[in-house]
Every structure is written in C-alpha cells, then in structure tokens.
Amino acid sequence: MENKKIYDFRGKQTNLERQLAFNKEGFIHMIFYRVLIIISIITFFVFLLSFWLVELFTVVVYLIIIIWVLFIPQLFALLKGLAMIGSKGIEFGRLNDSYISALKTNKKMVFGYALFPYLMIGVWIFGLGLFIFGVVI
C-alpha cells in the first residue's frame, strides 16, 4: 500500500488567528480563555504567598479584577449555551433555516432566552463595579 505524504499545519496556538476572518467573537473568547488559564494559576500562588507577605494581597485584588474582566466572554458563551439549550437551538443557534421555521410554526415560542445572557452579563459587570467600589476603594 502506498504511503501518503501528509503535512499537518495543526497544533499551534498561532492558528487561532484564523478565527479573525470569520468569527471575531470566537477569537476573543479563545484568547481570553488562554490568558485566563495562566492568570488563574498565578493568582492562586500569589494568594498563597499573601499569607506570608500581606502586601501581596493588593496584587491578588488587582488580579481578581483582571480575572473578572477575562471571565466576561467565557461567561457570555456559557450563558449563550444555556439559552441555546433552553430554546432548543432557536436562540443563538444556527440550525438549518427550514427546520427552524418549521419548529417555530409548530411549537409555542418561549420568550426570554434571547435576553438572558445579556441580562446576566449585565449583572456580572455590575458585580465588577461592586467589587471595585466595595473591596478595592
């Protein structure tokens, strides 16, 4: 059997850049997630160190603010996923058009799913405000 010569371009984080051409929201989501992973681990260790060096607790507070911001796209995606599941793919889904129109005709529409992620993100951002004004200042 002839061996095929194949060349694999996959396996590099720089490939995320390909998203920019057609899914900018997805690109932001992916980049923020990768930064969040690193910041999360750093925050934990800075928090541990802050038991011995109390001044480091200020760094922890600022790191939490960064984490809070980095969580926005992650949380939005999670909420969108929940809204999508709740609405059977009608909201935020990209199911086949003819299927969706048949679904809308035959089923009772459930309202609120389209608003749910935006409302919850609003609460999350309000929480950040609370954190900054309540804990930091």
């Binding site: 996959r10 949380l75 804990v135």
Partner: protein
C-alpha cells in the same frame, strides 16, 4: 475507556462556580462578614487553580504533544500578476483575480499563484478554479464532485472562511476584484487545495455513527417498522443533514491547536445517534464521549456552526451532549446514594 472524573473539573463547573464565589466574596466584604469573606475568597482561589490546571492541561499540553510541520508561505505569482482586475469584458463578464494559496508537498510550503479569470454573474468559485485548470494551469489540484453543495467535496478556505467552493458566487465574494483561496489548514494537507480526510473519518468512526439495537432477532428477521413520532424525529433531524464536508473541523479553533480533539463533526453525529429514539446505546455513548479529547475539549467558540453549509449546528449538538453527560452522571450518583 471512561474517564469518570472528567465531567467534574471541566470548564463548566469552575466557570459556574468561580463567578458565584467571587460574587459572594464581594457581598460578604460589603456586609462586613470577614470570616465568611475569607472562606469565599479561599474557595474561589481553589476554584481558579482547578480551572487553570485543567485548562492548562487541555489547551497547552494538548497542543505541545503534537509537533506540527512548520509551513512557510512564499509568493510565487504567475505571469498574469499585476494585470488590472475586475475589467468588464464585451460579454458582460468580469475579470476576477484569484489568489490561490497552493500547498507544495516538495517544499512543504504554501505558494501563492495568481490567475485572472473571466467570470459571469452566476460563476461560483469552483467554476473559476475549473476554468483555471482547463485553460491556464492544469497542475492545479482540488477535490470536487457534485458541483451543487450536496457531496461536500470542494471544501476550501475562501477569503479566510472555510466554505464550499461550489456554493460561493465569485462576484459576491470578490473584494476589490480579488478573491483569496487556500486549502483547509485544519486538516492535514496533500497537495495544492487537497486535504487528507483519513483522520476525519477515523474520528467519525470513533463515535460509532450507526444505530445500536438489542433486538437481534428483529434485526436479522425484520417483522415491523421502527416508528417515530414527529417530536422524536425533531430531536435528531437537523443533525442528520451533515454531508461530511469537513468545514466545521477546519474552522474549529480547538482542532487547529490540538488535533487530538475528536472535533465538531464527529460529536454532532454522536448526538444525532444518541438522540435517535431507535438507538439503544444511550448511556454507553455518553460514557464513550466523557473524555477530555471528547466533548470537554470543546470551548464553544461556535466557529463550526458559523461555517456549516447545511445548518447542522455542531456547537449546539456538543452543548446538548455535555448537558446529557452531566445529567447522566448526576442521576447515576443519585442512584448510588439511594
């Protein structure tokens, strides 16, 4: 083999837990409850560590395991480069510049060839490429078959977006008289625009894309029909439209960074069979996919659904699978306790 621990420390649990804990921490600080605030802060920090470590293993280690071939892009324009583009011809056609990035297996590089192609209002990208092959450069390789968006063979990247060449009109996609075409880099490359689908089909096979029945007598000596209601059909119908074009896999940022991930096409088909009322392998299917390289590697960028030409919405299917796996784990834990 099932990794039973997987569904707990995945993205979802820390993602739902950390925000709530941070919120509770903020509220307890504002309320002056110092001890409670410290508990919430410590818990959120532990949550962050779990989130960070599981994510690190998933995102960075996964991609480090796979050594990719470095592709370098060189420019190799043909003689027609520099000619003015988008000229209306006497027949009402337009000259469109096709910038085709071709993979050269000898140099292992993407080389750009530029062709000016006369197109009319109804020409699709595949027509343009076939015209190049017939009239200008017979060495240009691409995969195609039905020319009407049914077979899913002519997947390629058009202006940066994975698309079917036969379903994209040239004039609608030409920006300033130019159109850019490249192979799907989310699959291993063979030559020019042709990609290798062995890995794709292996992953498809991994999810057992067929119905399991326990009634073997009925299977070999059928006596009745397996009837389904409209509701039962609706549960899996849109996911059965998949034509296996591979665009979703190419668009998936996780597959692009970690080829070990099973990918959106296979997972959407796993859900298609799981949701089918005729299938009797429900729980076993979920256990089979409860893996880091299974459903939990999906980060829900939803790029797969953006590019799907048939409206299969693989991202939705994967979220449904995640929900079913969590429900299944919870109900099993409940059973064990009772």
């Amino acid at each position: 083999m099932k990794e039973s621990w997987v569904s707990l420390p995945t993205i979802y649990v820390p993602m739902a837990g950390i925000p709530i804990l941070l919120f509770l921490y903020t509220i307890s600080v504002l309320s002056g409850l110092q001890l409670i605030s410290k508990i919430f802060l410590t818990l959120s920090m532990v949550g962050l560590l779990v989130f960070g470590v599981s994510g690190f293993r998933d995102v960075y280690i996964g991609s480090l395991l796979k050594k990719s071939t470095e592709l370098k892009r060189t420019l190799k324009a043909n003689k027609e480069e520099g000619q003015s583009n988008i000229k209306p011809t006497s027949t009402g056609a337009k000259l469109i510049k096709f910038n085709v990035k071709r993979f050269n297996p000898e140099t292992q590089r993407l080389e750009e060839s530029i062709y000016n192609v006369e197109t009319d209002a109804f020409s699709n990208v595949l027509d343009g490429l076939l015209k190049i092959k017939a009239e200008t450069d017979p060495t240009l390789s691409m995969r195609y078959s039905c020319r009407m968006g049914i077979c899913g063979s002519c997947g390629m990247v058009i202006n940066g977006k994975p698309s079917l060449a036969c379903e994209n009109n040239v004039w609608e996609n030409a920006k300033n008289g130019e159109i850019s075409i490249a192979p799907m880099l989310g699959h291993p490359l063979l030559k020019d625009l042709v990609t290798d689908f062995d890995d794709f089909f292996e992953k498809h096979l991994f999810v057992n894309p067929y119905l399991f029945r326990n009634d073997l007598n009925e299977k070999y000596h059928p006596t009745k029909q397996y009837e389904q209601t409209k509701e039962e059909l609706d549960k899996f119908l849109p996911f059965s439209y998949c034509i296996m074009c591979g665009l979703c896999v190419d668009a998936c940022p996780v597959v692009n960074t970690n080829p070990e991930f099973i990918g959106p096409q296979a997972l959407s088909q796993a859900y298609r069979y799981y949701a089918d009322s005729r299938d009797e392998a429900g729980e076993a299917r979920l256990e089979h996919l409860d893996l880091l390289k299974g459903v939990w590697d999906c980060e829900f960028a939803a790029s797969c659904s953006d590019v799907c030409p048939k409206g299969v919405d693989p991202a939705f299917a994967i979220q449904l699978l995640k929900t079913e796996i969590i429900k299944n784990d919870l109900s099993r834990n409940k059973d064990i306790k009772s």
